[in-house]
């Protein structure tokens, strides 16, 4: 049985706790990277991370792209949409096709 985690600033992720997801509030990118690493080693299959944090630790997130578990997915936080999530999708297209043909 796998679990689902949400990392981000408390305001953005509080609501997810009531749905039964595990929340890990943090604002510091270093702390977020550490949390991410710990969660990836435990049985978390999906880790949602707010875009604000995701933009500060791109390498740590990219590391999990080639592994089947966990899926690290950026989601917008209360501060709004920064477009990081879309950028990740575009990057995948670029990797597969050679250029982003879906623009």
């Amino acid at each position: 049985m796998y679990k689902v985690a949400v990392i981000g600033d408390a305001d953005s992720i509080y609501g997810f706790a009531s749905l039964g997801l595990q929340i890990f509030p943090c604002v510091d990118p270093h702390e977020a990277a550490n949390t991410l690493r710990h969660l990836a080693q435990e049985d978390y299959a999906v880790i949602y991370i707010t875009e604000a944090l995701a933009s500060q630790i791109p390498q740590q997130i990219e590391r999990y792209h080639s592994q089947p578990i966990p899926a690290v997915v950026p989601i917008p936080g209360v501060k709004g949409n920064t477009g990081i999530g879309m950028a990740v999708v575009s990057k995948t297209v670029e990797q597969a096709v050679g250029s982003d043909i879906l623009k």
């Binding site: 009531s18 299959a45 997915v73 995948t92 597969a96």
Partner: protein, 217 residues
């Protein structure tokens, strides 16, 4: 293209011909695999993009409700309301094989079956906006899971496509031309040897006839 460093012998030629056939077949198969993977990938990535736009809009809406709830309730009351979640979710993962890429499929399991268990508080002391916020988040949840599934699948497939493409290119532009050149080189060398043997024999025959009968040409 460089000729491989091999001895120009008949055995080497047979080996190379066999290798060329294998390389050609491998190239064709890998090319088919790449094309099919690409087709599936484009399907998934289109869905992924559309879903991401939807989910981002939904989360934004939920966050707006949350912000309103936060402004009408005091911090402590909100914390208390959300401190002890009653619902607990776990995931069951099954894997689907798409052209030898194992893509995950998530199946959410909840501790309690009752949909109203997402409200971990009494309704007396909380704002209705909080209910809205939690309710809309719970509506997003299936989409969020599907999004995670799609993004992971796309990432895994992109990596596999890149790998396959490199293999196809290596076979097409390096291995196959190399084998072809080498086969040509060995064939020419063998033909050349044969011709030189024939001329040598003719020459020897001439010399022997001249010795025996004192022929003059």
């Amino acid at each position: 293209m460089a000729v491989l460093n091999v001895n120009p012998t008949r055995m080497e030629l047979t080996n190379l011909k066999r290798k060329l056939v294998t390389a050609r077949r491998g190239h064709k198969l890998l090319k088919d695999k790449r094309d099919e993977l690409m087709r599936r990938f484009m399907e998934l990535v289109r869905e992924n993009k559309a879903l991401r736009v939807k989910v981002e809009a939904d989360i934004h809406a939920a966050n707006t409700h949350m912000a309103v709830a936060r402004s009408v309730m005091d911090e402590a009351a909100l914390d208390v309301a959300l401190m002890m979640p009653t619902q607990e979710m776990s995931l069951e993962i099954t894997q689907k094989n798409v052209m030898s890429v194992l893509i995950p499929q998530y199946d959410a399991k909840f501790k309690t079956a009752d949909a109203n268990d997402i409200y971990s508080y009494g309704f007396a002391f909380t704002s209705a906006d909080l209910d809205e916020a939690v309710g809309s988040l719970s509506d997003i949840l299936p989409d969020l899971l599907r999004l995670a599934e799609l993004e992971k699948s796309c990432q895994l497939m992109a990596a596999e496509i890149e790998k396959t493409r490199r293999r196809v290119n290596a076979l097409e532009h390096v291995m196959i031309p190399q084998y072809e050149e080498t086969i040509k080189y060995i064939t020419m060398k063998l033909d050349e040897n044969e011709r030189s043997t024939t001329t040598r024999l003719m020459k020897v025959k001439d010399m022997m006839l001249e010795q025996a009968h004192h022929y003059e040409q």
